[in-house]
Symmetry: C3
Subunit: 426 residues, 3 copies
């Protein structure tokens, strides 16, 4: 359990809140590159950490992310025109460039100096890995863009999706580092993440539903080992990476594509779930891409034209009690990612963690909360925050059999870290 105050600190992310200030020190995946496909394409509304914003790609191809509301009379720039290197308000024609400068103000006399006094809130954007990233914090502290493996591979080796989840970001994040639930919630569906339904991983997961957790603090977040009994001499280790402030990397299943997530606040009661799959050293196969599009794995089926999932809170996630009886899905929900989505959302928009009963299997979750709450204190003291170094993101999750007695971070050392050489190879 968490105190009322700590739960509030953990889950509130608006401008000026303690956690909101910490999250704003990191690059934020804001939207998919394909949402702004060409210069002067229609602008898009984006809500991040409670802030209502407009993203646009200008005539020269640069991306702007500005306040949704024109500073003049506060009408939405969604109805404005994206034209000639700026976005122009539809009401009185005030126009802003990607840096937030007012570049035209036709409603005032040309000789007035008024235009130069006007700015709109704007955040810098960069593109990498199929994503438009933004930085919403103090410009003086802007770090380098992170360098996670999936971001660096060629497009043909990567599949990305994004969806809205109807709860606080941290409920999603908790699922992403919780190896324990894989043995239960995903017991019917986990085979869909790998290459074959009857892989050794799924057998090992089913065999031991009470993994022991060993969690190590790192300079980027947490290294989370979940140990299950395999045979007389070996443990089966599933090793998850938690990278501050919201990245989780899923331990792989055989040669199947690797996967990971980011859990980014839209506001305090909704979050963006980013999902990526990638194959180091080879292209994704057509079959793999088809499977991702089908919604059977971590990528969800969306209502066309939206980032809302077809199965959602309003329709009880299309629960199918027959599918549940047959154990094809333990929760009766189609898709591995949607199983998580459903249970996470079912705890309410912001779970009341003061009522929880945590066990040893929640060790990683307890540590991750601590990691974020410590960051709040560090930030207040002006101390350095974890994972701001772009290179610290060059890590991998792993699934390995290790002899009993061998510490997991030693035994899995090579599997967990991308060397300079590896990194250049991708």
């Amino acid at each position: 359990m968490l105190s009322y105050q700590d739960n509030k600190t953990l889950t509130q992310t608006g401008a000026g809140t303690p956690m909101g200030e910490v999250l704003r020190r990191y690059w934020i995946p804001a939207l998919m590159t394909e949402e702004l496909p060409y210069p002067d394409c229609p602008q898009v509304r984006v809500k991040l950490l409670g802030e209502e914003l407009i993203a646009f790609r200008d005539t020269s191809g640069r991306v702007g992310l500005v306040d949704e509301y024109c500073p003049h009379r506060r009408v939405s720039l969604f109805y404005g025109r994206n034209e000639e290197c700026g976005i122009r308000c539809a009401y009185h024609g005030w126009k802003f460039d990607v840096e937030g400068n007012c570049v035209d103000l036709p409603s005032e006399p040309a000789e007035s100096n008024f235009k130069n006094k006007i700015r709109i809130k704007s955040y810098p954007c960069e593109e990498r890995g199929g994503i438009i990233w933004t930085y919403m914090g103090d410009p003086a502290y802007k770090p380098e863009l992170p360098e996670q493996e999936w971001m660096m591979v060629p497009d043909s080796q990567r599949y990305i999706s994004k969806k809205i989840e109807e709860c606080n970001y941290f409920q999603g994040l908790e699922g992403g580092i919780d190896s324990s639930h894989v043995s239960i919630l995903h017991s019917g569906s986990v085979g869909n993440l790998g290459v074959s339904k009857q892989s050794s991983s799924t057998t090992l997961l089913a065999k031991d539903t009470a993994p022991r957790f060993e969690v190590m603090e790192t300079d980027y977040g947490l290294l989370i080992g979940a140990r299950r009994d395999a045979d007389e001499d070996n443990y089966y280790w599933r090793i998850t990476q938690f990278i501050m402030p919201w990245y989780t990397m899923i331990p792989p299943f055989g040669g199947a594509p690797r996967g990971g997530h980011a859990w980014v606040p839209i506001d305090d009661e909704n979050c963006w779930v980013w999902s990526w799959s990638w194959t180091p050293g080879r292209d994704l196969t057509e079959e793999e891409v088809e499977q991702m599009k089908s919604g059977v794995g971590i990528h969800a089926k969306l209502i066309p034209g939206t980032f809302r999932t077809v199965a959602n809170k309003e329709n009880d996630f299309l629960i199918d009690r027959d599918m549940q009886k047959r154990r094809e899905s333990f929760a009766g929900i189609f898709g591995v990612g949607m199983e998580d989505h459903a249970v996470q959302v079912s705890a309410g928009p912001i779970a009341d963690r003061s009522l929880e009963r945590l066990g040893t299997s929640d060790t990683a979750i307890i540590k991750a909360r601590r990691c974020l709450l410590d960051a709040v204190r560090s930030h207040e003291k002006g101390e350095i925050l974890p994972a701001l170094d772009a290179e610290s993101h060059r890590v991998r999750a792993a699934s390995v059999l290790l002899p009993k007695g061998l510490p997991f971070h030693e035994g899995a050392q090579d599997a967990l870290k991308l060397t300079e050489k590896d990194f250049e190879a991708v």
Copy 2:
């Protein structure tokens, strides 16, 4: 009118509220037996007195009613599995029996004692009269199940329905003891409650729209006599029973099936309306059952798969101004029960009783409010509450012609009380 504070006391029923504590001292009709038709059938969400609960029927046929949220990480058991004598959370597999014991906890090591420390909130259930009843109060004070006539007759003599009404329970209850409105609101439709459209009851009701009320306090609630002029020598008495805390019995119309209701809080702005019809001493006819299913009487037409009425607040109860002009329904609403439903809901989720203008025709309503508010005070003082004795429920409503001058409770004595013999005969 009622003071702001008394209105609040009367209408707030959540755990810990004064009225909430009183209502929890009584058995509560929770759901229809047919909602949990067979062992290990799908669980059902139930909201009662503001508490979100899950009902399930286990492998042995016993019914459990537990907190909707798993104590571990607060996800909803709606997505769990009802299997092998317990309901199991879909997230980490924690499993609970009908008594709220944790019977399996697969995410923690078998040798840990953790499981034995975990319980889920659970309420005892019993089944009678086609209904699953629950008791949400202090176990030390659990009374016997009530013994109302309709509960005790064979299934073939009873028809039951349940619907959601979009307002506070007490607005519904007030309608159930308000004989006065029958002469107006139901003037076009009341014939549908009896055997013939032109019965003597309907004529008598139309003749005198200003009944005089005589209300007597009893050990179970109130005995409410509404007196109308019949002829030179006689009064027509419609005698309603109000049994604490929410039961109302409708004075009968000739040999037609008898009827009654319970008005049970879902939360403070919605209530369950339970309706029952029964025929002492004989089976319901097919024609009578068809009429009940048609929605013309006190049982409403529902949207299939829900307990939401087809005519509801969102569609202005499908008001038909032509039907209203023709006086087939005084309010232009189809169905006797829906006429009540519409006007009750139209006063808002919680009527502001501080603005009312009550007359002598509201005597029963004033007394019923007093009855509930007195129960709050009695409960706080640790005094005995009315109607906790199961046998006190063995009463009947009545409609009788009595000579002027004869007190109604004397003249109608036999019609109002079920003798031991009567009761055994049913």
Copy 3:
């Protein structure tokens, strides 16, 4: 910008609020005459200034506007019967006439004096110009009905419509006196207001997007001159009338029908937009009426059976980015009135004016706010309020070319005021 407190004062209009009290000193356009087409027709719900009311036309043709809720037990009179010179509650039959007197009370004994103590809140109504007007203020101060030109012309010279706009009334009103935005927001669509797409007005509007404002206070509100450069010797003046408390008159486009609006609070987050077009001295042509019905101008397309616009907040006003690219509509919204509607609503239910950046082009808006806020102070001091004199409404908006140097109110004098003769001629 406006202080938080002034913004609150300006935008809150419920009973007892300072602005609410001022607005209640004026006649209010309540509903269209055609909404109550014949005696004893179905009653209609009307919400005005936050008050929920029922309008009905009685057997003699008189219009009543009364509290929606019966004083007895607060159920809605929407379900009541409009019959025999009064509206009768469906619950217990209490009946009220258009003046709010209780004329029948069948649920109480005839000999009781109860009926005479009962009244329902009622507001006087009058009909003029196709509209049912009401006065919701202190009866002692009821003024004469206003005498605006469009109200006085024969029906064949007038077209009226009404719609719901999903924001505070003042956001709408600001648009109505803001000549500046016409050059931008309506640059693609303004031709639809006139007789020809390429009129001299539209050319002049496009030529100068930064009009200089000269605003004069009058005994009815404001006379707002917006000056644009025309040629070497002349200015193009668009002169808008603002008549307290919510009327705006659009400067005309050539010989096209004249237009105006009233912006009336439904509650603080929604308003009625009344729109009227009229042709002094001649009937509207069929073509003109067709154009009005098409939604291309100031009159919007409505969802049949409602006053909700087809293009609305929920569907992003059916924005069409292609139409926007082609500059047929600067905002990509169909219809001149809907362009305004969309941007006004996009600022939120109640714009936060403390965040604005106003320029010289907002002079009229600043003055209009001051006009309303001054009225609050005048009213509190018991001083006379502007525009209560019916004859003060006999003014016109104008569009004129005037020699540079000539004050606009002098040069346009004849165009701005209806003489006694003019007024009688209409």
